[in-house]
């Protein structure tokens, strides 16, 4: 592994020296001040944007003074501009005596919540391109920007990836502000802090870091900021970019950051001391640090009663293992350890395999790969065709392949159980890692049977134990084991007994529930009766 990282590092150094990069950059020098002549400014802006068609320019006359309103069409809320800038600007009577035009416009005419003064070009383009309106005034070497962000965005919809039976039904959208608002709405505490930054030399994407002050570990917060600041890339098009740039280890199939599209999940994780990273343009919010067991906690777990959610969680872990080793168990048992299969079953499998020309490993590989292709195709296909493909797929896998003696019926069962088990992992990123490792384990099983599977699992365990997510051991609180953090691992304690936040993540303010939260019937058996007697 380290050869690869070294090679990558070398390349990075080379690239830094490359001048080519500079051309892609925002090439306007930041120090340059805005010119006094507004026409010059307009032509400069036009020039920089290459006369782009979506640049809207509205010449203004404020009394005797000239000016212009600039905005990017589509990014701004047109109605807002009309009502709160244009109307007020035009209606205003300009006083005749000497006065500061700029201050007048800024203070008295722009009826917007957020207005600011811009002095340099860099800032001007930033604001303009993120949906603000710019007012240029002749004779002023400053500009006014008004917050008019708007335009068409997707509205809040139901989650599409992480469904739940019970619990809130809203999901994040592509707009950063909406997303932070969804979280803020749930945690109405001044301690919920949001820090923002821009990443991406070209895209200038807004990134927000959210955490609950006093619960989150300051060190981890700083570490997150540091890693985000370190990012030097042209574009951030989704939080997935950020994820790949800040995670601790690239060469692992396990996700070391958690992503979700559910605001309720992010809120609960913030309250556990985690830190959320929201990227503009992505409906998936990252939370760090992430630990292994977290990927088996579904939102439903907390909304339904503890006995149910505990057993369902156990089921999920079992399903994960089935998804991981299902086919390799089949291969190992049928080609190495035939003594393990009960006699009648062994004979039945032997009978089914009588006409199958391939060894078990190849048979399993064919089926698994076919299934993966079907799944991938199903994901990409237009919805109307999807139905048809799944029917064809079911026929190919289930019926025809067996009748054509390419695979045995048992193999079909194994593959389908594996596939279904795979879908029961709540987070796709973890499910996909089981999918990948499954093939490695199948190869090992074909090589040396159970010995191979066990070796694979041991290597996997070593790997998992060596992973860290922002300094937190990935397998905690199982390894290193901590008894007090077991409240929400394999067994989900009743809500009143979830007394502490996970200590390996949260730092301050550790206690969650008050004393005596265990629900109990009132102490005097029948309270009505006692009331009655008192009344009498």
């Amino acid at each position: 592994m380290s050869i690869l990282t070294k090679m990558l590092k070398k390349k990075q150094v080379q690239r830094k020296n490359d001048n080519f990069r500079q051309k892609l950059d925002h090439s306007i020098p930041g120090e340059l001040l805005i010119h006094k002549d507004y026409q010059e400014n307009i032509s400069r802006i036009k020039g920089e944007l290459g006369n782009s068609a979506d640049l809207g320019i509205r010449e203004l006359k404020i009394g005797p003074y000239q000016g212009a309103l600039l905005f990017i069409d589509g990014l701004v809320d047109g109605k807002g501009i009309n009502e709160f800038i244009l109307e007020t600007l035009m209606d205003k009577k300009v006083p005749i005596e000497e006065f500061d035009l700029f201050q007048f416009v800024l203070d008295q005419t722009v009826a917007l919540g957020s207005v600011s003064t811009i002095t340099n070009w860099n800032e001007l383009f930033d604001k303009l391109l993120s949906g603000c309106s710019i007012i240029l005034l002749n004779g002023c070497n400053k500009a006014i920007s008004g917050e008019t962000r708007g335009g068409e965005t997707r509205s809040i919809a139901e989650p599409t990836q992480q469904l739940s039976i019970r619990g809130p039904k809203d999901a994040f959208t592509e707009t950063l502000r909406t997303n932070t608002a969804l979280i803020r709405r749930r945690i109405k505490s001044p301690n919920l802090w949001i820090e923002s930054m821009k990443i991406g030399r070209v895209t200038q994407t807004d990134i927000a870091i959210m955490y609950v002050k006093g619960i989150a570990d300051e060190e981890i917060v700083n570490e997150v900021k540091q890693r985000l600041n370190r990012i030097d890339i042209d574009a951030i098009l989704d939080s997935g970019y950020v994820e790949q740039l800040i995670e601790e280890q690239t060469f692992t199939s396990f996700p070391t950051t958690y992503h979700t599209e559910r605001p309720d999940v992010v809120s609960s994780q913030l309250l556990e001391g985690r830190i959320a990273i929201v990227a503009d343009g992505s409906p998936f919010v990252l939370t760090v640090p992430a630990v292994f067991v977290q990927f088996f906690q579904a939102p439903d777990d907390y909304y339904s009663r503890f006995d149910l959610s505990t057993s369902v969680r156990m089921l999920r872990i079992l399903a994960f293992f089935i998804a991981l080793i299902g086919p390799s168990l089949y291969i190992a048992a049928t080609t190495f350890h035939q003594e393990m299969i009960p006699t009648t079953l062994a004979i039945a499998i032997a009978a089914q395999r009588e006409n199958v020309p391939f060894p078990a490993f190849v048979e399993a590989l064919i089926m698994e790969v076919t299934f993966e292709i079907l799944r991938e195709a199903g994901l990409r296909l237009p919805r109307a065709v999807g139905q048809a493909v799944s029917i064809v797929g079911a026929l190919v896998i289930g019926q025809a392949a067996v009748q054509a003696s390419i695979v045995s019926p048992v193999m079909v069962i194994v593959v389908s159980i594996t596939a279904i088990a795979n879908f029961s992992t709540p987070v796709f990123a973890m499910a996909i890692s089981a999918r990948l490792l499954r093939f490695a384990l199948m190869a090992l099983a074909a090589l040396v049977g159970f010995f191979g599977i066990m070796l694979g699992l041991i290597v996997m365990a070593i790997h998992l134990c060596s992973l860290r997510s922002f300094g937190v051991p990935y397998m905690s609180p199982v390894a290193p084991f901590s008894g007090e953090n077991q409240q929400d691992v394999f067994i989900r304690y009743p809500i009143w007994a979830l007394k502490y936040r996970p200590r390996h993540i949260a730092r301050g303010n550790i206690v969650r529930t008050g004393e005596n939260q265990k629900p109990a019937p009132p102490k005097h058996g029948n309270s009505h009766e006692s009331d009655d007697t008192k009344g009498n």
């Binding site: 380290s2 050869i3 049928t334 080609t335 190495f336 035939q338 003594e339 006699t343 009648t344 062994a346 004979i347 039945a348 499998i349 032997a350 009978a351 089914q352 395999r353 009588e354 006409n355 199958v356 060894p359 078990a360 067996v402 009748q403 045995s408 019926p409 190869a443 074909a446 090589l447 040396v448 049977g449």
Partner: protein, 404 residues
């Protein structure tokens, strides 16, 4: 450092190539030996060995997989050799697949061989990692093992299940046979104070008809496999058989009784009352009395009334007491006659010697060399206590009403 990692990676890449798949065998490359029959050799070799190999396609109910065979579920191959390995390796000349013993569930030994001595075949069964020592051993009474192995049966598609399930059923319901595994057999043979027993099987009817499909295509199979008797083994040789009540007595004494029926006469009618003991416990304490070993045997059992074919008031405590005594007496006489017969064989199948060894190790050191004779002459005392529990769904039998 880099070079080491390169070597490391090279190892990882090369090893699978070196690998091949030594232990890898597809299910279809294996001939599942379901039952193994061992007989005294007819030719020059010491043993004739028969292998009952399953034909998977004919067993599995064939919907999709398999070609939906019509033939018999098993095929029997025969081979011979001076030891089991030789015979098994020679058999591969006739069998197109590799013989696979992990699913072998029964070993049948022919009576001729059993009389001559079975020690020669046991090590192979014990040592082979494929072979399970939980495999059941039986003796083909008055027959060759080959005959029993070749019969195909109804009710159970796999003929070997026939033996196992019959044994289990009779062990639970009648108590004249017990399931003896290779482990038990070896334990009995190696222990200095104990000898093993093996259940016997006979075949009723003709071998020729038993091997043809005719045997399963009729409601009255011409050839039938039946559990029959317990073989007493002494120093690895068949010393003699225990039949019916003697076998049952021995099973009582070995504390292996799970259930049986005890009948006796009443009102002059033969076997008019039938009882079924369902719980029992046997305790044996062996000591030395008058220079001779002496066994104190205590049997306790609880029974139900299962049938009354005469006028009998089973609601009268006094009658019940009589009933209990009759059952006890019956058991006692069975056990007594079993001991007498086993003493004739000089084979301590009850583990009296082991009992002395465990409780009086010093005395055992003195007498163990002559244990066979000591056992044959030892005294014993049998106490049986039986307890009546219930009488099924009815109280008094209808016979009591008939009289009026």
């Amino acid at each position: 450092m880099n070079s080491f990692i390169r070597i490391f990676m090279l190892l990882i890449i090369v090893i699978p190539l070196l690998g091949g798949c030594w232990n890898q065998r597809e299910l279809t490359d294996l001939a599942f030996v379901m039952a193994l029959g061992i007989d005294k050799g007819t030719g020059n070799e010491k043993y004739d060995v028969t292998f009952q190999v399953v034909v998977p396609a004919n067993v599995a109910s064939s919907q999709n997989g398999g070609s939906g065979g019509q033939g018999p579920p098993v095929v029997v191959y025969k081979s011979s050799g001076n030891n089991l390995t030789e015979a098994s390796r020679r058999a591969t000349k006739k069998i197109p697949r590799e013989l696979y013993y992990s699913h072998t569930s029964i070993v049948v030994i022919g009576e001729d061989l059993a009389r001559e001595g079975i020690l020669g075949v046991l090590d192979a069964l014990d040592r082979d990692p494929e072979f399970r020592t939980t495999t059941v051993v039986i003796i083909a009474k008055d027959r060759k093992a080959e005959d029993l192995i070749s019969v195909i049966t109804n009710l159970d598609k796999l003929p070997m299940n026939r033996f196992i399930k019959t044994l289990e059923a009779t062990e639970a319901m009648l108590g004249e046979n017990i399931k003896v595994t290779i482990d038990d057999l070896l334990q009995g043979i190696t222990s200095s104070g104990k000898e093993p027993v093996i259940s016997g099987f006979i075949m009723e009817g003709s071998t020729e008809k038993g091997t043809s499909p005719q045997n399963i295509n009729t409601t009255k199979p011409p050839a039938m496999i039946t559990a029959d008797g317990l073989a007493v083994i002494r120093k690895g040789k068949l010393a003699g058989w225990l039949d019916y009540n003697n076998a049952r007595g021995a099973v009582w004494l070995m504390n292996k009784m799970q259930g049986t029926d005890i009948d006796f006469n009443w009102n002059g009618i033969k076997d008019a009352v039938s009882t079924t003991p369902f719980l029992s416990n046997t305790k044996v304490a062996v000591s030395i009395k008058n220079g001779k070993p002496f066994a104190n045997i205590n049997i306790e059992t609880a029974f139900k009334l299962s049938e009354i074919n005469t006028d009998f008031d089973n609601e009268d405590p006094k009658k019940i007491e009589v009933l209990e005594n009759r059952v006890s007496a019956q058991i006692k006489s069975e056990v007594e006659s079993a001991i007498k017969q086993v003493q004739e064989y000089k084979a301590d199948i009850f583990g009296f010697g082991e009992n002395i060894h465990r409780n009086h190790p010093k005395i055992w050191g003195e007498i163990k060399h002559d244990w066979g004779n000591q056992f044959a002459n030892m005294d014993y005392q049998i106490n049986v206590k039986s307890y009546y529990r219930e009488s099924g769904l009815r109280g008094k039998p209808f016979w009591s009403d008939l009289k009026k």
